[in-house]
Amino acid sequence: MIDLEFIINTVSLGSLYALLSLGLVFVYGILKLVNFAYGEYIMVAGYAMHVIGQNRGIPWYVTMAIAVLLAAAVSYATELVAFRPVRTKSLTALIVTSFAVSVFLQNVVLITISPRSRAVPLPAFFSQTLTLGTATIPVRNLVIIGTTIVLLIGLTFVMKKTVLGIAMRAAADKFTTTRLMGVPANLVISATFIISGLLAGVVAIFWVGRSASVDPLIGAAPLLIAFIATVMGGMHSLVGAVIGGFVYGLLFNILSIMLPATMISYRDAFMFMIVILFLLFRPEGIWRGGYTEERVG
């Protein structure tokens, strides 16, 4: 049961989920906002690939780059238009706003494109497989692992070495103090939304790559996964989010194998039960970050 195939599949699933939860936790760290519109950034990138992909002349890497940038742009736009004016108000107002943004984006796509799912053209290697000894591995899974490694190294560099990254980490720790040191709040928050959108865009490529289609509700499932993974890993640190992503991937694959066939449809219920129990006993998550309840005021 635990062979090379299982390991590589679990690592690649975990990598995808790690990127996913990282995007969510970036915003959560500073605004203490669980951004319900996060799944919709993924949807936007998916639709960008659908629309641009209709034009055969454009190479796939250009399409993907545009999709990722568009997700970041939409993320930034929602911050500017919706989140910024509500930011200083109550947490409930902020969460409800993110909810409204999510409904808004979904219905824009419903009206302008279609309520039904649409095909997304993908490069050929997405559906090829590789044989290593006895194991058959989709090339896609190896690409996910590679992309995740590159992105994690890049993000670590940005967060540890650049002024912006240090400001973002400081803001996640003690926002008021950081502002007193002369760090502009709007800049830091915009930057987190843009990074969050970029990560959503990258995830979208692989998420859409699994089914090669996109529909207006495609954002719901990744949002939930990012949600559980960050909660389990620890919502107060970026490392925790990555760990949470991998733990979720592992847990998901194990539950898929272990649960009897009659119970498999309850898998999500089991996952969320584990989350609730976990939070009751360890509210700070696997990775104990700088635990803070402060919100932006």
Partner: protein, 359 residues
Amino acid sequence: MRLPEKISALLKRRSTLFLLLVPLIAVGFVLQAVGTPLILNIYTYFCVNLMIVLALQMFMGNSGILAWTHVAWVGIGAYASGILSMAPMVKSLGVPNMYPHLVELQLPVVPAILLGGVVAAIVAAIIGWPLMRLSNAVGVITLFATLIVVHVVMTQWDNVTNGPRTFFGLQEFTRLPQALVGAILVLLLAHWYRESSLGLRLRAARDDRFAAMAIGVSVVQVRYVAFVLSALIAGIGGGVWAHFITSFSPKAFYITETFLLLTMLVIGGQGSISGAFTGTALVTVAREVLRQVESGMNNSGMFSFEVYGLTELVMAVLMVIVLIWRPSGIIGGQEITWPLLKRKNRPDDGPGTDVVEPA
């Protein structure tokens, strides 16, 4: 004190209740006399929604905790009351896999609806006991996770709920009079609760958890009572709703509906009964108007495609505008009183806007 003085004193003390109840009942009577079936339906639906939103206000408005699970209690109440009130013949037709001892049960509609509420309250009492200890983001997240667990169970347990398929065949019990009576009772209860010692303690815990603890409020306990009470009313509201709509599926008790209920509560102002009332009224009217516009656009052939989702789109935009313009809702955290001009200036910051006035 002479009788007129007594009446005027009562009117002053309970002016919020009169300001809300008089139009509610008056419009109900007028519509019952002259309304078309469509208008009657909309008003009935409004009354049912009012019950559910007021139940939401009881917990969420007074505790400040975003109540994701609310729609789950509505769903449990709807299914439980439906299973209790349907005739065995209809049940075995509608839900072929149902457990035999559930099929045999049959009660009159009113006890079935009340029992549905009790079932929701029991589930809430079991789930809420540990969860009410958690505050802030962790509290929000665990409640959200609970909603998902309940939803998965509803869509998968086809021995009880018919799985993701439609659950149908309920008696059409709820009409305008029944819904109106329900709404009036819940309004009275919600108002009583908000002003009662329990409600005051809960509001104190919402505004400053630590200060409330310091003066001896058991935060977990007051939250817990509100959570269970709110689930009871939500379950009853769900039963009334189920006997109005007569067929539904688990989809009706998930994120879209949560968003609708939250819109109703937050637009008006979650901190007050008047806010919940106003929000429900505004959203009901706005939705109906938008729906008419949407179907009008589709029928007129103005566009080559079906306009679908316009209602939700506009509602979302309205919601964000209201939150930016008045984050504590149109009415805000204080009840409307008579005369309206007596209202004090209040800060517009979040749900905790009840200004304690010096005596």
